[in-house]
Subunit: 251 residues, 2 copies
Protein backbone atom coordinates (compact mmCIF):
# COMPACT_ATOMS: atom_id res chain seq x y z
CA UNK A 1 0.00 0.00 0.00
CA UNK A 2 2.81 2.38 0.96
CA UNK A 3 4.52 1.43 -2.36
CA UNK A 4 1.42 2.45 -4.29
CA UNK A 5 1.27 5.77 -2.41
CA UNK A 6 4.96 6.37 -3.06
CA UNK A 7 4.61 5.57 -6.80
CA UNK A 8 1.55 7.84 -7.01
CA UNK A 9 3.39 10.68 -5.27
CA UNK A 10 6.41 10.33 -7.60
CA UNK A 11 4.15 10.29 -10.67
CA UNK A 12 2.24 13.40 -9.61
CA UNK A 13 5.49 15.17 -8.60
CA UNK A 14 7.19 14.38 -11.92
CA UNK A 15 4.13 15.54 -13.86
CA UNK A 16 3.96 18.82 -11.93
CA UNK A 17 7.72 19.35 -12.32
CA UNK A 18 7.69 18.81 -16.09
CA UNK A 19 4.66 21.09 -16.37
CA UNK A 20 6.51 23.76 -14.40
CA UNK A 21 9.60 23.39 -16.63
CA UNK A 22 7.46 23.75 -19.73
CA UNK A 23 5.75 26.93 -18.38
CA UNK A 24 9.13 28.42 -17.46
CA UNK A 25 10.50 27.63 -20.93
CA UNK A 26 7.46 29.30 -22.60
CA UNK A 27 7.94 32.43 -20.48
CA UNK A 28 11.65 32.55 -21.31
CA UNK A 29 10.91 32.07 -25.02
CA UNK A 30 8.34 34.92 -25.14
CA UNK A 31 10.51 37.22 -23.06
CA UNK A 32 13.36 36.62 -25.46
CA UNK A 33 11.15 37.07 -28.54
CA UNK A 34 9.63 40.36 -27.34
CA UNK A 35 12.94 41.94 -26.40
CA UNK A 36 14.32 44.26 -29.05
CA UNK A 37 17.38 42.87 -30.71
CA UNK A 38 19.84 45.74 -30.70
CA UNK A 39 21.31 44.90 -34.05
CA UNK A 40 18.27 43.95 -36.09
CA UNK A 41 17.20 47.37 -37.34
CA UNK A 42 19.05 48.79 -40.27
CA UNK A 43 18.19 51.47 -42.78
CA UNK A 44 14.82 50.77 -44.30
CA UNK A 45 14.31 47.36 -42.67
CA UNK A 46 10.65 48.06 -42.15
CA UNK A 47 9.96 49.86 -45.40
CA UNK A 48 7.88 47.02 -46.79
CA UNK A 49 6.16 45.94 -43.62
CA UNK A 50 3.08 48.04 -44.49
CA UNK A 51 2.71 49.53 -47.91
CA UNK A 52 1.97 53.02 -46.67
CA UNK A 53 4.40 53.17 -43.77
CA UNK A 54 8.09 53.69 -43.43
CA UNK A 55 10.79 53.89 -40.84
CA UNK A 56 14.00 55.41 -42.03
CA UNK A 57 17.04 55.70 -39.86
CA UNK A 58 20.11 57.06 -41.49
CA UNK A 59 22.36 54.75 -39.50
CA UNK A 60 21.77 52.10 -36.88
CA UNK A 61 20.73 53.95 -33.74
CA UNK A 62 23.11 53.13 -30.95
CA UNK A 63 21.52 53.53 -27.52
CA UNK A 64 24.81 54.49 -25.95
CA UNK A 65 25.25 57.24 -28.50
CA UNK A 66 21.86 58.87 -27.89
CA UNK A 67 22.21 62.07 -25.89
CA UNK A 68 25.99 62.02 -26.00
CA UNK A 69 27.48 65.45 -26.52
CA UNK A 70 30.95 64.14 -27.23
CA UNK A 71 30.54 63.66 -30.96
CA UNK A 72 28.24 65.07 -33.63
CA UNK A 73 24.93 63.25 -33.77
CA UNK A 74 22.52 63.56 -36.70
CA UNK A 75 19.49 61.29 -36.84
CA UNK A 76 16.22 61.24 -38.75
CA UNK A 77 13.01 59.48 -37.70
CA UNK A 78 10.24 58.98 -40.22
CA UNK A 79 6.62 58.34 -39.28
CA UNK A 80 4.09 56.68 -39.44
CA UNK A 81 5.18 53.63 -37.47
CA UNK A 82 3.76 50.35 -38.83
CA UNK A 83 1.69 50.00 -35.65
CA UNK A 84 1.51 50.88 -31.97
CA UNK A 85 4.65 50.16 -29.99
CA UNK A 86 4.30 48.12 -26.79
CA UNK A 87 4.36 50.41 -23.73
CA UNK A 88 6.22 47.78 -21.70
CA UNK A 89 8.93 47.70 -24.36
CA UNK A 90 9.23 51.48 -24.13
CA UNK A 91 9.38 51.45 -20.33
CA UNK A 92 11.45 48.33 -19.62
CA UNK A 93 13.08 47.48 -22.94
CA UNK A 94 11.17 44.15 -22.99
CA UNK A 95 7.70 42.65 -22.68
CA UNK A 96 7.04 39.32 -20.95
CA UNK A 97 3.43 38.95 -22.08
CA UNK A 98 3.12 36.19 -24.62
CA UNK A 99 -0.24 37.45 -25.90
CA UNK A 100 0.83 41.12 -26.28
CA UNK A 101 -0.53 42.41 -29.60
CA UNK A 102 1.62 45.57 -29.82
CA UNK A 103 4.85 45.98 -31.77
CA UNK A 104 8.07 44.71 -30.23
CA UNK A 105 10.68 46.30 -32.46
CA UNK A 106 12.54 49.58 -32.71
CA UNK A 107 9.91 51.91 -34.15
CA UNK A 108 10.34 55.67 -34.56
CA UNK A 109 8.23 56.11 -31.41
CA UNK A 110 10.60 53.78 -29.56
CA UNK A 111 13.60 55.93 -30.53
CA UNK A 112 11.76 59.16 -29.74
CA UNK A 113 10.80 58.03 -26.23
CA UNK A 114 14.31 56.66 -25.73
CA UNK A 115 15.69 60.06 -26.73
CA UNK A 116 13.40 61.89 -24.28
CA UNK A 117 14.55 59.58 -21.50
CA UNK A 118 18.17 60.64 -21.95
CA UNK A 119 17.55 64.06 -20.38
CA UNK A 120 19.81 64.59 -17.37
CA UNK A 121 19.29 68.19 -16.26
CA UNK A 122 16.93 70.12 -18.53
CA UNK A 123 14.11 69.70 -21.02
CA UNK A 124 12.73 72.67 -22.99
CA UNK A 125 9.53 71.64 -24.75
CA UNK A 126 8.12 74.01 -27.39
CA UNK A 127 5.32 72.17 -29.21
CA UNK A 128 2.14 73.30 -30.95
CA UNK A 129 0.11 70.41 -29.53
CA UNK A 130 0.89 67.67 -27.01
CA UNK A 131 -1.79 65.01 -27.14
CA UNK A 132 -0.25 61.53 -26.90
CA UNK A 133 -0.12 60.20 -23.33
CA UNK A 134 2.87 57.92 -24.05
CA UNK A 135 4.91 61.04 -24.92
CA UNK A 136 3.30 63.04 -22.12
CA UNK A 137 4.43 60.30 -19.71
CA UNK A 138 8.07 60.91 -20.67
CA UNK A 139 7.73 64.65 -19.90
CA UNK A 140 6.07 64.04 -16.52
CA UNK A 141 8.61 61.31 -15.67
CA UNK A 142 11.48 63.72 -16.43
CA UNK A 143 9.91 66.30 -14.09
CA UNK A 144 9.49 63.66 -11.36
CA UNK A 145 13.16 62.71 -11.72
CA UNK A 146 14.09 66.30 -10.86
CA UNK A 147 14.90 67.41 -14.42
CA UNK A 148 14.04 71.08 -15.02
CA UNK A 149 11.16 70.92 -17.52
CA UNK A 150 9.66 74.00 -19.19
CA UNK A 151 6.78 73.79 -21.66
CA UNK A 152 5.65 76.30 -24.30
CA UNK A 153 2.54 75.45 -26.28
CA UNK A 154 -0.18 77.04 -28.40
CA UNK A 155 -2.81 78.70 -26.21
CA UNK A 156 -5.74 77.17 -28.04
CA UNK A 157 -4.33 73.67 -28.49
CA UNK A 158 -3.43 73.49 -24.80
CA UNK A 159 -7.11 73.70 -23.87
CA UNK A 160 -8.57 70.94 -26.05
CA UNK A 161 -9.83 67.87 -24.13
CA UNK A 162 -7.14 65.34 -25.09
CA UNK A 163 -4.26 67.76 -24.43
CA UNK A 164 -1.55 66.67 -21.96
CA UNK A 165 -0.99 70.29 -20.91
CA UNK A 166 -3.47 70.19 -18.00
CA UNK A 167 -1.67 67.11 -16.71
CA UNK A 168 1.68 68.94 -16.92
CA UNK A 169 0.31 71.89 -14.95
CA UNK A 170 -1.13 69.53 -12.30
CA UNK A 171 2.27 67.84 -12.00
CA UNK A 172 3.82 71.25 -11.30
CA UNK A 173 5.58 71.73 -14.66
CA UNK A 174 5.68 75.41 -15.67
CA UNK A 175 3.73 75.97 -18.91
CA UNK A 176 3.51 79.17 -20.95
CA UNK A 177 1.54 79.92 -24.12
CA UNK A 178 0.49 82.69 -26.49
CA UNK A 179 -2.72 84.54 -25.64
CA UNK A 180 -3.63 85.47 -29.23
CA UNK A 181 -5.96 83.23 -31.18
CA UNK A 182 -5.07 84.80 -34.54
CA UNK A 183 -1.62 83.30 -35.00
CA UNK A 184 -0.24 79.92 -33.99
CA UNK A 185 2.67 78.97 -31.77
CA UNK A 186 3.44 76.36 -34.42
CA UNK A 187 6.95 75.20 -33.42
CA UNK A 188 7.40 71.48 -32.70
CA UNK A 189 10.79 71.22 -31.04
CA UNK A 190 12.32 69.94 -27.81
CA UNK A 191 15.81 70.72 -26.54
CA UNK A 192 17.40 68.16 -24.21
CA UNK A 193 20.07 69.34 -21.73
CA UNK A 194 20.71 72.46 -23.86
CA UNK A 195 22.58 70.28 -26.34
CA UNK A 196 20.25 68.08 -28.40
CA UNK A 197 17.50 69.34 -30.68
CA UNK A 198 14.45 67.26 -31.67
CA UNK A 199 12.55 69.07 -34.44
CA UNK A 200 10.40 68.47 -37.51
CA UNK A 201 6.87 68.35 -38.90
CA UNK A 202 5.79 65.94 -36.15
CA UNK A 203 2.82 66.98 -34.05
CA UNK A 204 2.93 65.19 -30.72
CA UNK A 205 -0.26 63.18 -31.32
CA UNK A 206 -1.12 59.49 -31.70
CA UNK A 207 -2.26 60.18 -35.28
CA UNK A 208 1.19 61.56 -36.10
CA UNK A 209 2.77 58.36 -34.75
CA UNK A 210 0.65 55.75 -36.49
CA UNK A 211 -1.13 57.58 -39.34
CA UNK A 212 0.45 60.70 -40.82
CA UNK A 213 3.61 61.03 -42.88
CA UNK A 214 5.90 62.97 -40.55
CA UNK A 215 9.57 63.52 -39.81
CA UNK A 216 11.78 64.28 -36.84
CA UNK A 217 15.35 65.46 -37.13
CA UNK A 218 17.65 65.00 -34.13
CA UNK A 219 20.98 66.81 -33.91
CA UNK A 220 23.44 67.97 -31.29
CA UNK A 221 25.30 70.39 -33.58
CA UNK A 222 25.68 73.69 -31.79
CA UNK A 223 25.04 75.97 -34.76
CA UNK A 224 21.67 74.26 -35.24
CA UNK A 225 20.72 73.88 -31.56
CA UNK A 226 21.61 77.41 -30.41
CA UNK A 227 19.09 79.35 -32.57
CA UNK A 228 16.34 77.10 -31.20
CA UNK A 229 17.54 77.69 -27.63
CA UNK A 230 17.48 81.45 -28.32
CA UNK A 231 13.95 81.20 -29.76
CA UNK A 232 12.80 79.20 -26.72
CA UNK A 233 14.19 81.83 -24.36
CA UNK A 234 12.62 84.60 -26.46
CA UNK A 235 9.16 82.99 -26.35
CA UNK A 236 9.51 82.06 -22.66
CA UNK A 237 9.94 85.75 -21.81
CA UNK A 238 7.33 86.89 -24.35
CA UNK A 239 4.72 84.54 -22.83
CA UNK A 240 5.59 85.44 -19.24
CA UNK A 241 2.13 85.97 -17.65
CA UNK A 242 3.32 89.33 -16.25
CA UNK A 243 4.30 90.51 -19.74
CA UNK A 244 1.04 89.26 -21.24
CA UNK A 245 -0.93 91.11 -18.55
CA UNK A 246 1.01 94.31 -19.26
CA UNK A 247 0.14 94.03 -22.96
CA UNK A 248 -3.57 93.65 -22.23
CA UNK A 249 -3.56 96.73 -19.99
CA UNK A 250 -0.70 99.10 -20.94
CA UNK A 251 -1.75 101.47 -18.07
CA UNK B 1 19.75 142.41 -74.98
CA UNK B 2 21.84 139.38 -76.00
CA UNK B 3 23.58 139.65 -72.58
CA UNK B 4 20.23 139.45 -70.82
CA UNK B 5 19.20 136.45 -72.94
CA UNK B 6 22.53 134.76 -72.22
CA UNK B 7 22.23 135.43 -68.47
CA UNK B 8 18.65 134.16 -68.50
CA UNK B 9 19.68 131.01 -70.42
CA UNK B 10 22.54 130.36 -67.97
CA UNK B 11 20.24 130.87 -64.99
CA UNK B 12 17.56 128.52 -66.33
CA UNK B 13 20.19 126.00 -67.42
CA UNK B 14 21.89 126.04 -63.99
CA UNK B 15 18.54 125.73 -62.23
CA UNK B 16 17.49 122.78 -64.38
CA UNK B 17 20.91 121.15 -63.95
CA UNK B 18 20.88 121.48 -60.17
CA UNK B 19 17.29 120.16 -60.11
CA UNK B 20 18.38 117.21 -62.23
CA UNK B 21 21.33 116.54 -59.94
CA UNK B 22 19.04 116.65 -56.90
CA UNK B 23 16.56 114.19 -58.50
CA UNK B 24 19.38 111.85 -59.45
CA UNK B 25 20.76 112.02 -55.92
CA UNK B 26 17.32 111.22 -54.46
CA UNK B 27 16.94 108.23 -56.77
CA UNK B 28 20.42 107.02 -55.87
CA UNK B 29 19.68 107.49 -52.18
CA UNK B 30 16.42 105.49 -52.30
CA UNK B 31 17.94 102.82 -54.45
CA UNK B 32 20.77 102.52 -51.97
CA UNK B 33 18.45 102.57 -48.95
CA UNK B 34 16.16 99.87 -50.34
CA UNK B 35 19.01 97.58 -51.29
CA UNK B 36 19.87 95.05 -48.65
CA UNK B 37 23.15 95.77 -46.96
CA UNK B 38 24.97 92.48 -46.95
CA UNK B 39 26.58 93.02 -43.58
CA UNK B 40 23.80 94.63 -41.58
CA UNK B 41 21.99 91.52 -40.36
CA UNK B 42 23.48 89.78 -37.40
CA UNK B 43 22.07 87.33 -34.93
CA UNK B 44 18.94 88.78 -33.39
CA UNK B 45 19.21 92.22 -35.02
CA UNK B 46 15.48 92.34 -35.55
CA UNK B 47 14.46 90.72 -32.29
CA UNK B 48 13.00 93.92 -30.87
CA UNK B 49 11.53 95.37 -34.03
CA UNK B 50 8.11 93.99 -33.16
CA UNK B 51 7.45 92.59 -29.73
CA UNK B 52 6.02 89.32 -30.98
CA UNK B 53 8.34 88.69 -33.88
CA UNK B 54 11.82 87.40 -34.25
CA UNK B 55 14.39 86.59 -36.87
CA UNK B 56 17.21 84.42 -35.69
CA UNK B 57 20.08 83.48 -37.90
CA UNK B 58 22.83 81.50 -36.30
CA UNK B 59 25.47 83.28 -38.35
CA UNK B 60 25.44 86.00 -40.94
CA UNK B 61 24.00 84.45 -44.08
CA UNK B 62 26.48 84.75 -46.89
CA UNK B 63 24.80 84.71 -50.31
CA UNK B 64 27.81 83.06 -51.90
CA UNK B 65 27.64 80.29 -49.34
CA UNK B 66 23.98 79.44 -49.95
CA UNK B 67 23.63 76.22 -51.91
CA UNK B 68 27.33 75.48 -51.83
CA UNK B 69 28.05 71.80 -51.34
CA UNK B 70 31.73 72.33 -50.68
CA UNK B 71 31.47 72.85 -46.95
CA UNK B 72 28.94 71.95 -44.26
CA UNK B 73 26.08 74.44 -44.09
CA UNK B 74 23.71 74.64 -41.13
CA UNK B 75 21.24 77.52 -40.96
CA UNK B 76 18.08 78.28 -39.01
CA UNK B 77 15.32 80.67 -40.04
CA UNK B 78 12.74 81.76 -37.49
CA UNK B 79 9.33 83.17 -38.38
CA UNK B 80 7.23 85.33 -38.25
CA UNK B 81 8.94 88.08 -40.19
CA UNK B 82 8.30 91.59 -38.83
CA UNK B 83 6.31 92.38 -42.00
CA UNK B 84 5.91 91.59 -45.67
CA UNK B 85 9.13 91.60 -47.68
CA UNK B 86 9.23 93.67 -50.90
CA UNK B 87 8.75 91.44 -53.96
CA UNK B 88 11.15 93.59 -56.00
CA UNK B 89 13.83 93.07 -53.37
CA UNK B 90 13.25 89.30 -53.58
CA UNK B 91 13.37 89.31 -57.39
CA UNK B 92 16.09 91.89 -58.10
CA UNK B 93 17.91 92.32 -54.80
CA UNK B 94 16.84 95.99 -54.71
CA UNK B 95 13.80 98.25 -54.97
CA UNK B 96 13.94 101.67 -56.66
CA UNK B 97 10.51 102.83 -55.51
CA UNK B 98 10.88 105.55 -52.92
CA UNK B 99 7.30 105.09 -51.67
CA UNK B 100 7.48 101.27 -51.33
CA UNK B 101 5.85 100.33 -48.04
CA UNK B 102 7.19 96.77 -47.83
CA UNK B 103 10.26 95.60 -45.89
CA UNK B 104 13.69 96.15 -47.45
CA UNK B 105 15.88 94.00 -45.25
CA UNK B 106 16.98 90.41 -45.01
CA UNK B 107 13.92 88.72 -43.55
CA UNK B 108 13.51 84.97 -43.14
CA UNK B 109 11.32 84.99 -46.27
CA UNK B 110 14.13 86.77 -48.15
CA UNK B 111 16.58 84.01 -47.21
CA UNK B 112 14.09 81.26 -47.98
CA UNK B 113 13.38 82.57 -51.50
CA UNK B 114 17.09 83.15 -52.02
CA UNK B 115 17.70 79.53 -51.04
CA UNK B 116 15.06 78.24 -53.46
CA UNK B 117 16.65 80.27 -56.26
CA UNK B 118 19.96 78.44 -55.83
CA UNK B 119 18.59 75.24 -57.40
CA UNK B 120 20.65 74.24 -60.43
CA UNK B 121 19.36 70.83 -61.52
CA UNK B 122 16.66 69.46 -59.22
CA UNK B 123 14.02 70.47 -56.70
CA UNK B 124 12.05 67.88 -54.72
CA UNK B 125 9.17 69.57 -52.93
CA UNK B 126 7.30 67.55 -50.26
CA UNK B 127 4.99 69.95 -48.44
CA UNK B 128 1.66 69.53 -46.68
CA UNK B 129 0.29 72.79 -48.06
CA UNK B 130 1.63 75.31 -50.59
CA UNK B 131 -0.42 78.49 -50.45
CA UNK B 132 1.83 81.55 -50.71
CA UNK B 133 2.22 82.82 -54.29
CA UNK B 134 5.62 84.41 -53.59
CA UNK B 135 6.95 80.93 -52.73
CA UNK B 136 4.91 79.32 -55.53
CA UNK B 137 6.61 81.75 -57.95
CA UNK B 138 10.03 80.36 -57.03
CA UNK B 139 8.89 76.78 -57.78
CA UNK B 140 7.36 77.74 -61.14
CA UNK B 141 10.43 79.86 -62.02
CA UNK B 142 12.70 76.89 -61.29
CA UNK B 143 10.59 74.71 -63.60
CA UNK B 144 10.73 77.39 -66.34
CA UNK B 145 14.53 77.52 -66.01
CA UNK B 146 14.63 73.81 -66.87
CA UNK B 147 15.22 72.55 -63.32
CA UNK B 148 13.59 69.14 -62.71
CA UNK B 149 10.85 69.92 -60.18
CA UNK B 150 8.72 67.24 -58.49
CA UNK B 151 5.99 68.07 -55.99
CA UNK B 152 4.37 65.85 -53.35
CA UNK B 153 1.54 67.36 -51.33
CA UNK B 154 -1.44 66.40 -49.20
CA UNK B 155 -4.39 65.35 -51.36
CA UNK B 156 -6.90 67.46 -49.48
CA UNK B 157 -4.77 70.58 -49.06
CA UNK B 158 -3.89 70.57 -52.76
CA UNK B 159 -7.52 71.14 -53.64
CA UNK B 160 -8.34 74.16 -51.45
CA UNK B 161 -8.92 77.43 -53.38
CA UNK B 162 -5.74 79.32 -52.46
CA UNK B 163 -3.45 76.34 -53.12
CA UNK B 164 -0.61 76.81 -55.61
CA UNK B 165 -0.86 73.15 -56.68
CA UNK B 166 -3.28 73.79 -59.57
CA UNK B 167 -0.86 76.41 -60.88
CA UNK B 168 2.02 73.90 -60.69
CA UNK B 169 0.02 71.32 -62.66
CA UNK B 170 -0.89 73.93 -65.28
CA UNK B 171 2.79 74.85 -65.62
CA UNK B 172 3.55 71.18 -66.32
CA UNK B 173 5.18 70.34 -62.99
CA UNK B 174 4.49 66.72 -61.97
CA UNK B 175 2.52 66.60 -58.72
CA UNK B 176 1.62 63.53 -56.67
CA UNK B 177 -0.43 63.21 -53.48
CA UNK B 178 -2.03 60.73 -51.10
CA UNK B 179 -5.56 59.61 -51.89
CA UNK B 180 -6.62 58.89 -48.32
CA UNK B 181 -8.41 61.57 -46.35
CA UNK B 182 -7.84 59.85 -43.00
CA UNK B 183 -4.15 60.58 -42.57
CA UNK B 184 -2.06 63.58 -43.59
CA UNK B 185 0.96 63.89 -45.84
CA UNK B 186 2.29 66.25 -43.20
CA UNK B 187 5.96 66.63 -44.25
CA UNK B 188 7.20 70.18 -44.97
CA UNK B 189 10.55 69.70 -46.66
CA UNK B 190 12.28 70.62 -49.90
CA UNK B 191 15.52 69.11 -51.20
CA UNK B 192 17.60 71.27 -53.55
CA UNK B 193 19.93 69.54 -56.06
CA UNK B 194 19.90 66.36 -53.92
CA UNK B 195 22.22 68.09 -51.47
CA UNK B 196 20.45 70.73 -49.40
CA UNK B 197 17.51 70.08 -47.08
CA UNK B 198 14.98 72.77 -46.07
CA UNK B 199 12.76 71.42 -43.28
CA UNK B 200 10.83 72.48 -40.20
CA UNK B 201 7.43 73.32 -38.78
CA UNK B 202 6.87 75.93 -41.49
CA UNK B 203 3.70 75.56 -43.57
CA UNK B 204 4.15 77.28 -46.93
CA UNK B 205 1.51 79.94 -46.29
CA UNK B 206 1.47 83.72 -45.89
CA UNK B 207 0.23 83.29 -42.32
CA UNK B 208 3.31 81.20 -41.53
CA UNK B 209 5.55 83.99 -42.89
CA UNK B 210 4.05 86.97 -41.12
CA UNK B 211 1.93 85.57 -38.28
CA UNK B 212 2.81 82.19 -36.80
CA UNK B 213 5.85 81.19 -34.78
CA UNK B 214 7.65 78.80 -37.12
CA UNK B 215 11.10 77.48 -37.89
CA UNK B 216 13.06 76.26 -40.88
CA UNK B 217 16.30 74.34 -40.63
CA UNK B 218 18.62 74.29 -43.64
CA UNK B 219 21.47 71.81 -43.89
CA UNK B 220 23.60 70.14 -46.54
CA UNK B 221 24.92 67.39 -44.28
CA UNK B 222 24.55 64.08 -46.05
CA UNK B 223 23.48 61.98 -43.09
CA UNK B 224 20.56 64.39 -42.56
CA UNK B 225 19.67 64.97 -46.23
CA UNK B 226 19.77 61.33 -47.38
CA UNK B 227 16.93 59.96 -45.21
CA UNK B 228 14.70 62.76 -46.55
CA UNK B 229 15.72 61.92 -50.14
CA UNK B 230 14.84 58.28 -49.44
CA UNK B 231 11.48 59.29 -47.97
CA UNK B 232 10.76 61.49 -51.00
CA UNK B 233 11.51 58.60 -53.36
CA UNK B 234 9.41 56.24 -51.23
CA UNK B 235 6.37 58.56 -51.33
CA UNK B 236 6.88 59.40 -55.01
CA UNK B 237 6.49 55.72 -55.85
CA UNK B 238 3.71 55.16 -53.30
CA UNK B 239 1.67 58.01 -54.79
CA UNK B 240 2.29 56.95 -58.39
CA UNK B 241 -1.21 57.18 -59.97
CA UNK B 242 -0.81 53.67 -61.38
CA UNK B 243 -0.07 52.31 -57.89
CA UNK B 244 -2.95 54.23 -56.36
CA UNK B 245 -5.34 52.86 -59.03
CA UNK B 246 -4.14 49.29 -58.33
CA UNK B 247 -4.88 49.77 -54.65
CA UNK B 248 -8.43 50.95 -55.33
CA UNK B 249 -9.12 47.97 -57.57
CA UNK B 250 -6.88 45.01 -56.68
CA UNK B 251 -8.51 42.95 -59.50
Amino acid sequence: MTDKIRIFTYAVGATLFSELLYILWLRFKHRHMNTVNKTDIQLGTDRNSRSNTSIILNVDFNDQEVGSSYKPMNKVLIFPDPGITCKRLILNGRCAYSNCQFLHKKTSLYYLTKMLSTAKTKMDVCVYMMMYSVLGDRIVDAHKKGIVVRVITDGQMGDVPSSQIGRFREAGIPVRSNSTTTFLMHHKFIIIDNETLINGSFNWTKQAVTGNYENILITNQKELVEPYSAEFQHLWQLYDPVQLEKKKDPQ
